[in-house]
Symmetry: C2
Subunit: 214 residues, 2 copies
């Protein structure tokens, strides 16, 4: 970690000028790419805004035209990652022919999520920071909720009427736990991490099975 200088955080606007011209859009992309690379190399805490600007080939002032502060860059990267993940999940579980098939696909998603996180340092680092930025934390929760809803919607037809609310809570919780499990797994030694993910997948299958009649 390390604690930040962010004082007037409630005062500062969350977004700045939206790039409308082509040139500006390209710059924003270059900034994100540069930030992403630097985070991969040194970790987000060690990344200096001047470095990001330098690598992106833009002056520091331009960077602040589009991002209100350093955290906003991490946020943007995190949001993009979440969007990609959500799409993967949505694609995987839409139109499932049966509950059993849904279970298998969700299982595969968890495994894939682990594999991706293992070799994407940026993801790792940003996930780490998730809990320290209030906006990111809120985003993370909304992300889990949205993913949970996807799973819920895909399976609710198989769940007893009386259990629906509890099943919805369970889906939400499991999505949040998937993040925890994967972060824990990549933080420990590889062999142990693999074992933890195996257990987590079993937990997911078992908990969903508790609601759906497989």
């Amino acid at each position: 970690m390390t604690l930040p200088p962010k004082l007037p955080s409630s005062e500062r606007t969350l977004t700045r000028r939206q790039p409308t011209q082509k040139r500006a859009k390209e710059r924003v992309e270059r900034i994100l790419v540069a930030a992403s690379e630097l985070i991969a190399e040194t970790g987000s805490d060690a990344v200096r805004m001047t470095e990001v600007a330098a690598r992106a080939g833009v002056p520091i002032g331009s960077l602040y035209q589009y991002f209100p502060d350093k955290a906003a860059i991490l946020r943007m990267l995190a949001v993009r990652f979440m969007e990609r993940t959500r799409e993967t999940l949505a694609d995987a579980i839409k139109n499932v022919p049966s509950a059993a098939e849904a279970l298998e696909r969700i299982d595969a998603i968890v495994e894939g999520y682990y594999a991706t996180s293992l070799d994407e340092p940026v993801v790792r680092d940003i996930w780490s920071g998730t809990q320290s930025d209030k906006y990111l934390q809120a985003l993370d929760i909304e992300d889990s909720r949205a993913n949970g809803t996807l799973v819920f919607d895909a399976l609710k037809a198989y769940v007893k009427e009386d259990d629906l609310q509890r099943f919805e809570a369970a889906c939400f919780l499991l999505m949040q736990m998937a993040g925890t499990a994967v972060r824990l797994a990549i933080a420990v030694e590889r062999a142990e991490g693999d074992r933890l993910i195996v257990e987590f997948r079993r937990i997911v299958r078992s908990e969903i099975s508790a609601f759906v009649s497989v």
Copy 2:
């Protein structure tokens, strides 16, 4: 959050002078109390080292005699909280007469942990920061491992030989998930948080039951 200035983090020593004299020990306590209060009032990010020193009634230099940096204070508070929690857990599950009784006690611990976290702003805030400080993250993992081992040891007699390694992983994972579940529950609206904890407790019981013959 906000990101910090911590550059030479690997260079800086993790501990400083250990207070041996009575006066020094009292000062360290006063610093921790002051930090704790300020975190409760404004959140750790907004706490300034000068404020901590001022409220503790010590000059800034003295503060740095005992804490190498700001994060170290949070770390110390977190460690103390973890120690208290671990003691509670250890007391609760030692000498359990049966697996069923152990399950009930663990269930109560989770509920108590939620209740405590709900009205201890310091705990909330520090837990938030957990993931952003590498040392704290490591401490958190070790804490989960230690707690997991406690549960494992208390119940291993009831588990089949072949399942022992998997059960150990599950205990570790569940301890880490308890933190996630509670943090999520206190972050959302109260009624939903309560529901989430109910589901989590069910998950814990169900997963442990999967290994022990109740």
